[in-house]
């Protein structure tokens, strides 16, 4: 029987990690994710796990590197400025193909910014962030339950693909409380981590490295991890589609913004505007195919983010000019309201198609709503 509790998002992430068998957590205080660090300190204390409040984010991510190299399920969490500090380690972890979970409870930037929610680290999470050609499996949950479920699943995915997974939340999701069902997490059994550092007893020494000096070796390694990324693109994509079947316009949003957009869709429908929503859950790999497919049948796409417009680039790449892609965003801690989004859609509805720039290869013209 699973237990139902009222919990904040940060705590749910922590419990998801615990349920997945994570017993090694390394972190450094930063708002708005401090509840998570405190939760791990308490739970790992109870369970005899390892909790270290590190001296810096650099140290925390490198402790994760070490713990993961030693074969453990390890996690660190932070918020935007702290995640910037972790980028070096993330690049090494991705290069060394070590599994781990990294949580970013995003706050507004740039710089020290503010502790208010934001989605302005999207580029950093899905396009790289650190140096070199690598990818993070990036998950954008939208509720306390999803934070729990996906954090637990993230450890499985990390181990399965030997790749870091990022849970990309925001200050809103981290702080808000919702009912949470603490359900048992069942994942398929994975092979033993024969590559882990456990002492070279009755076997050859295991070496974990990213330095590859032999001519061609590093290129081969890059090809290998790129092939892994291609596999992930085939196997991992998840999204939620809301009222998309008969939709004439589509909103695209993730996380907190997707929840706001869902309400906007219902408000628009009440006013006779057939709106739908695509909510990417995996932000990398990105659900491009579904967005591409739907873009053939709608007049336009509106992307909504708590940023100056980052994910909108991936939407445009998915749509490839099949229909116009518009953007509405708030920055610096601003959160779009459902009314603002409705207003934006109405403005777009009143927009004259002849104002649009001609688009090559468009399947349909923009029909003006009478």
């Amino acid at each position: 029987m699973s237990e139902k509790v009222l919990m904040c998002g940060n705590g749910a992430i922590g419990e998801g990690a615990i349920q997945a068998g994570c017993r090694h957590y390394f972190g450094y205080p930063i708002t708005p994710q401090n509840e998570l660090t405190a939760y791990m300190a308490e739970r790992l204390g109870e369970l005899g796990g390892v909790f270290i409040q590190s001296e810096s984010e650099l140290a925390a991510i490198n402790m994760v590197f070490g713990a993961s190299a030693a074969g453990a399920r390890a996690m660190t969490s932070s918020s935007s400025p702290g995640i910037s500090l972790k980028q070096e380690g993330i690049s090494y972890i991705a290069g060394a193909e070590l599994p781990c979970v990294i949580v970013n409870v995003m706050r507004a930037g740039p710089g020290l910014g503010d502790i208010t929610p934001s989605q302005a680290d999207y580029f950093q999470a899905v396009k790289g962030g650190g140096h070199g050609d690598y990818r993070l499996i990036t998950i954008g949950p939208a509720s306390v339950q999803e934070l729990y479920d996906w954090t637990a699943r993230a450890f499985y995915l990390a181990d399965k693909y030997r790749n870091p997974v990022m849970i990309l939340g925001d200050g809103f999701l981290g702080q808000m409380m919702e009912p949470l069902e603490i359900r048992k997490i069942k994942e398929p059994k994975l092979p033993e981590k024969t590559w882990a550092l456990t002492g070279a007893k009755d076997r050859k020494a295991n070496i974990i490295r990213t330095l590859m000096l032999k001519v061609g070796e590093l290129e081969e390694h890059n090809k290998k991890i790129q092939n892994k990324y291609k596999r992930m693109e085939k196997e991992l994509i998840e999204y939620e589609a809301v009222l998309t079947d008969d939709a004439e316009i589509i909103l695209v949003a993730y996380g907190t913004c997707a929840r706001v957009c869902k309400e906007s869709v219902f408000l628009l429908r009440k006013e006779g505007i057939k709106a739908g929503l695509i909510r990417p859950i995996t932000l990398w790999p990105y659900p491009s195919a579904i967005i591409r497919k739907i873009s053939n049948n709608v007049r336009y796409v509106l992307t909504v983010e708590m940023s100056a417009g980052q994910m909108v680039e991936d939407v445009k790449l998915a749509v490839l000019g099949r229909c116009p892609v518009h953007f509405y965003g708030r920055m610096g801690g601003g959160v779009p309201t459902s009314e603002e989004i409705v207003k934006k859609v109405k403005k777009l509805e009143a927009h004259r198609p002849e104002d649009d720039q001609p688009l090559a290869g468009r399947h349909k013209g923009t029909k003006r709503k009478e």
Binding site: A59, A70, A205
Partner: protein
């Protein structure tokens, strides 16, 4: 025929890539001998640095992982906390430990991590071609101090071992050298003791090894070895800096 001398069993047969007269090969061998003597080859995990010794893992039959520059003690902390029953050591140069990784080493030491650190101080960045290290001596010429290190502009040779000795997490810190046989014998004793401190679960232990880098000191190997005795030990005196192992 009875074999009386050979490569330590915990080491591979791969020839060292180090420059002629470099001290790294000696330090590696001492570590190999200590691992053999303590019988811990199958429970030792090493974390080499970024720097000349980055490919140290080629020379040992011991599990090892690379670490980002200076983050070596943090990576080692992660490993040791997963495997408290294993012996985890870091091998770090003066750039890795005393410049970019000062935060990590100070806090690993202060937490009393059950780690052993072999800190090789040769006063220069070797791999990148002889730049100033935090341990470069006053007036010492390097590619980035072409007129000699000027304390007014860039400060003083850092005494990181003495700094670490004041933290309560450290049990044993000794400074040794590998420039002549008498010092090499002492160095081995110190390295062995540092590993023993970890085996006894006492706390953090470190051996600072003054080592010669003839190429970047622009000296012959012999002159570089003499320079350690005549010059380097004036700033970095040899001997036990802290020993609470008997307490």
């Amino acid at each position: 025929m009875k074999r009386i001398f050979g490569r330590p069993r915990s080491m591979t047969n791969k020839p060292f890539h180090y420059c002629p007269g470099c001290g790294h090969g000696i330090v590696h061998r001492l570590i190999g001998e200590v691992i053999d003597e303590l019988g811990i080859q199958d429970k030792t995990i090493g974390v080499p640095p970024v720097g000349c010794a980055v490919v140290m893992y080629h020379y040992f039959n011991v599990d090892m992982t690379e670490a980002a520059h200076g983050r070596t003690p943090a990576v080692a902390t992660g490993i040791k906390r997963v495997h408290p029953d294993k012996v985890v050591f870091t091998y770090q140069g003066d750039g890795d430990l005393a410049a970019i990784g000062t935060g990590e080493i100070i806090h690993a030491a202060n937490r009393g991590e059950r780690l052993t650190t072999i800190f090789v101080n040769n006063t220069v960045y070797g791999m990148t071609g002889g730049q100033m290290a935090p341990t470069t001596l006053i007036s010492q010429k390097t590619t980035t101090t072409p007129l000699g290190r000027d304390a007014r502009l860039i400060g003083y040779p850092i005494k990181i071992s003495e700094m670490l000795a004041v933290t309560d997490g450290t049990i044993y810190i000794e400074r040794v050298a590998v420039n002549k046989p008498a010092n090499i014998i002492k160095a081995k004793k110190a390295i062995k003791k540092a590993f023993q401190v970890q085996l006894e679960d006492r706390g953090f232990s470190m051996v600072e090894v003054l080592s010669q880098c003839p190429v970047n000191l622009a000296m012959t190997p012999q002159k570089a070895a003499e320079w350690i005795d005549n010059t380097l030990t004036k700033t970095y005196p040899l001997g036990v800096i802290k020993d609470k192992s008997g307490d």
